[in-house]
């Protein structure tokens, strides 16, 4: 299977080269057969990458320890579930996984648009093939996952060998979220290739702006949705596995995943300016370019080890390949822009300071400043070494100082922006839309202040969350009320109907509501507490309202590891609440250890208990307990964001006028001159 996989990858590379070269020829000659054959070569490339990926998975499932990558990341006792995750546990497999996910997108695009957008698709095909060629070069010639295991022989040559068992999967990856977090994040990274390909293709082909924007909208949203889910799953993994009580540490790899999310979010908003007003065309094209470049940069940071990270992925020579690829992408984008910039002229100008356009402009400005701050902070060691010769890094205070106010400004715009009118918003409209939410926000903030939660940023954040939630709920209320008066349906049914009639708008509101919940969770971090204590059996510790009583400890041998578990009883007000079992795992194959945090999670707070090891003097177990308020709101908010994005991706239900007999106020139809029994009712597709 290793030979089969290698062969499939080589063939995929050849097909991609044909799709690229033949595609350029097809653009120049417009020969229909050439267009068709290059498209088919693109599809064949994807199918061959699928085969190569499945063959690597087969090598894991069949415990083939003659392949170096399988030996390094798996062992016989590893469960089937984690053998799937072993695919992306190392550099070679991760890069193949990148190619695999990209191929799913490329395959879908080539099939979906095979008979559409004839002027644009040859360009799109060439650009996608170009990206695939880069990753297939890495898969084939730089970091092949199918290398046979070999050791130096007596005569100095390498001898092929097979091992009885593998090294096993690193314990940090043996956690359910690690099976879903990387695929989500990588699907986000790879997904942004599609809007990039369409944007660049449209620029090269001078294709009408509103058309490519319309074509790429759903692909951008899909990629954004995966990126959002990936980031939040990664944060949850860090929270539940690393045992430090937090979920975000401004680590370079975390930052790398945030960067394209920030520009992608900016694009999803500013694209509406182009659709509605024909504005910000240059800005949008460069936002898409930047998002893709940041995806590649993120993969480069993760894979190259150029910036020290707790994510011990790799430190390898692969970085120079990525630098070269980034240089090529940037050059192509710049040349395409300079050659065709007249095609991107704005059709309108900003009319007023208080308007929908203005809110989008500031939204984009803030997201871009955040992106620049995170990028410069992440690359600071590299930049400072170039500029001053001293390698300097910046830490959490730098990122927090900039990004907390940015987050609050964005939250404010989340509430205000959607309710401002295009072109100019009148004072009356401002009063009508914002008077009640403002009053509710101020009253809510005052109550929180009176309850004693007075940390500045958190108080502002809670008040803004209440304000934004009120604006969103009022929008649903107003719309649903109109439907309800016509249909007699319940309020909930009317709100669902309202959403389904304009999924993009109301799906967007749901996404905003999800972000409000995420912000509530983030604001809770200001009130975190933690306690660490040696705990002989029978002893207790207090954190918040919880009393932790150390009952005992035990040893639990499992197939792949031995668990050393503490048995901790949790009491509230002297009454037993539950048992928690924080654990240390020692893995059999490599002696590595893993921490399993015990969490009691409620909407109010998380009780987070870590077995921190044994005291070196007394050999007694040490418990580190954290009380983290409102963390659950972050995960719940994330689910709502994903749900809202899925709603926004759905097609609108069309309201169709149907004449039917229905109950009707007696006087009204006659007064308006309509037939007595006729009224408007809506039917759904």
């Amino acid at each position: 299977m290793d030979v089969f996989g290698s062969f499939a990858l080589i063939l995929a590379f050849i097909c991609a080269v044909y799709a690229f070269g033949g595609g350029i020829a097809a653009i120049l000659t417009r020969h229909p057969l050439l267009v068709k054959s290059t498209r088919q070569a693109g599809i064949a490339t994807c199918c061959l990458i699928f085969l190569a990926t499945f063959s690597l998975e087969y090598l894991f499932f069949s415990d083939n320890f003659s392949v170096a990558y399988v030996v390094a990341h798996s062992n016989r006792a590893l469960s089937t579930f984690y053998k799937i995750a072993a695919l992306w546990a190392g550099q070679e497999g991760s890069l193949l996984f990148w190619s695999f996910l990209l191929s799913i997108y490329v395959f879908s695009v080539l099939i979906a648009y095979r008979n559409k957008n004839g002027e644009l698709m040859p360009y799109v095909g060439v650009i996608l093939a170009g990206v695939q060629i880069f990753f297939l070069t890495l898969n084939n010639f730089v970091a092949s996952p199918f290398k046979a295991l070999a050791v130096p022989g007596a005569n100095g040559a390498m001898d092929l060998v097979a091992r009885a068992d593998g090294n096993g999967l690193t314990p940090l990856l043996q956690y359910p979220e690690m099976v879903i977090h990387p695929p989500n994040l990588y699907s986000g990274y790879t997904g942004f290739t599609i809007p990039f390909a369409f944007a660049l293709a449209a620029l090269l082909a001078r294709y009408p702006g509103e058309k490519w924007i319309h074509l790429t909208r759903k692909w951008t949203m899909i990629a954004w949705c995966f990126q959002t889910a990936g980031i939040l799953l990664g944060a949850h993994w860090a929270y539940a596995v690393l045992g430090w009580g937090g979920y975000w540490g401004w680590d370079p790899v975390e930052n790398a995943s945030l960067l394209p999310w920030l520009t992608g979010t900016a694009f999803l908003h500013s694209v509406m300016m182009q659709e509605k007003r024909g504005m910000m065309k240059v800005w949008n094209v460069w936002l898409v370019f930047s998002t893709f470049i940041l995806c590649i940069l993120g993969t480069f940071l993760t894979r190259s080890g150029v910036v020290s990270s707790v994510h011990a992925f790799a430190q390898s020579s692969i970085g120079s390949w990525f630098v070269g690829f980034l240089a090529v992408i940037f050059t192509v984008c710049l040349v395409a822009y300079l050659k065709n910039r007249d095609y991107l002229k704005s059709e309108n100008q900003l009319d007023a300071f208080v308007s929908r356009e203005s809110s989008f402009l500031f939204n984009n400005l803030i997201l871009l400043v955040s992106c620049i701050a995170v990028l410069s902070g992440t690359l600071f060691p590299v930049l400072s070494e170039w500029l001053s010769g001293s390698k300097i890094s910046v830490g959490a205070p730098f990122f927090n100082k900039v990004n907390i106010p940015i987050g609050l400004l964005l939250l404010f715009l989340t509430g205000v922006g959607p309710l401002l009118a295009w072109r100019k918003t009148s004072v009356e409209s401002l009063k009508r839309n914002f008077a009640w939410p403002l009053i509710i926000g101020v009253v809510g903030g005052s109550i929180i202040f009176a309850l004693g939660y007075r940390e500045f940023y958190s108080l502002i954040c809670f008040s803004l969350c209440i304000f934004v939630a009120a604006t969103i709920l009022m929008e649903f209320y107003r719309g649903a009320k109109v439907i309800r008066t016509r249909s007699d349906a319940s309020f909930l049914t009317s709100a669902i109907e309202l959403t389904m009639r304009n999924t993009r708008r109301y799906g967007g509101y749901i996404v905003h509501m999800g972000m409000v919940l995420v912000f509530i969770g983030l604001a809770g971090a200001a009130f975190n507490q933690n306690v660490q204590k040696e705990m002989p059996p029978g002893s207790s510790m207090q954190i918040g309202k919880y009393t932790l009583v150390m009952q005992n400890f035990d040893t639990k041998p499992e197939a792949n590891y031995t668990g050393y578990r503490l048995i901790v009883e949790v009491l509230v007000g002297g009454k037993p609440l539950m048992m928690l079992y924080p654990e240390k795992r020692v893995f059999d194959t490599n002696g590595e250890t893993g921490t399993m945090v015990a969490i009691y999670s409620t909407l109010r707070e998380d009780l987070y208990v870590v077995y921190a090891g044994q005291s070196p003097d007394t050999k007694l177990p040490v418990i580190h307990a954290y009380l983290n308020p409102l963390v659950k709101w972050i995960w719940f908010g994330g689910v709502i964001v994903v749900f809202g994005t899925l709603v926004a991706l759905m097609p609108n239900r069309r309201a169709v006028l149907v004449l039917s007999a229905a109950k009707q106020p007696a006087a009204e139809p006659l007064a308006r001159g309509l037939a007595p029994s006729a009224t408007y009712r809506e039917r759904h597709d």
Partner: protein
């Protein structure tokens, strides 16, 4: 006021405010990277900065005491005695021969007092370009 001026002022206020905050954050958190060899040549004010040093944990050097963990970092033929005094438990990957990054300040007695320790597991660490792997991955190089 002209609308362009309004936008200009709005954008200016936001950018200048955030840049000022970034500068404050930079001052609070800047940390200088040094190798173990460089650290031993630093003098005066350079030793008072917050410093980050990387190296390999010397086998058998980890001594855990109440409120403190002592160990030795090795790199480029030099060694550095480190005392970790932070509150957080050390990562599970912090073991003999692990690649570790420590953050803190040198003490007067020559020890390095670390408040933060990050560790990469030796068995999963891959060779630097042109370098030698520190682990079992060494045996997996192939001429295939």
């Amino acid at each position: 006021m002209k609308k362009q001026a309004k936008f200009g002022i709005g954008i200016g206020v936001i950018v200048i405010s955030l840049a000022s905050l970034a500068w404050l954050g930079y001052g609070e958190s800047k940390t200088y990277y040094h190798t173990i060899a460089e650290l031993q040549t630093l003098h005066g004010a350079d030793r008072s900065h917050r410093i980050r040093v990387g190296g390999t944990v010397a086998p058998g050097s980890i001594h855990r005491m109440t409120g403190r963990v002592d160990f030795v970092l090795e790199g480029e033929g030099k060694s550095l005695s480190v005392s970790y005094v932070g509150n957080d438990p050390l990562p599970d990957t912090f073991v003999d021969k692990a690649q570790a990054l420590v953050e803190g300040r040198p003490a007067a007695d020559g020890r390095f007092v670390a408040e933060v320790v990050q560790a990469k597991c030796a068995s999963k660490y891959e060779a630097a370009p042109g370098g030698t792997a520190t682990s079992s991955t060494e045996t997996q190089k192939s001429n295939m």
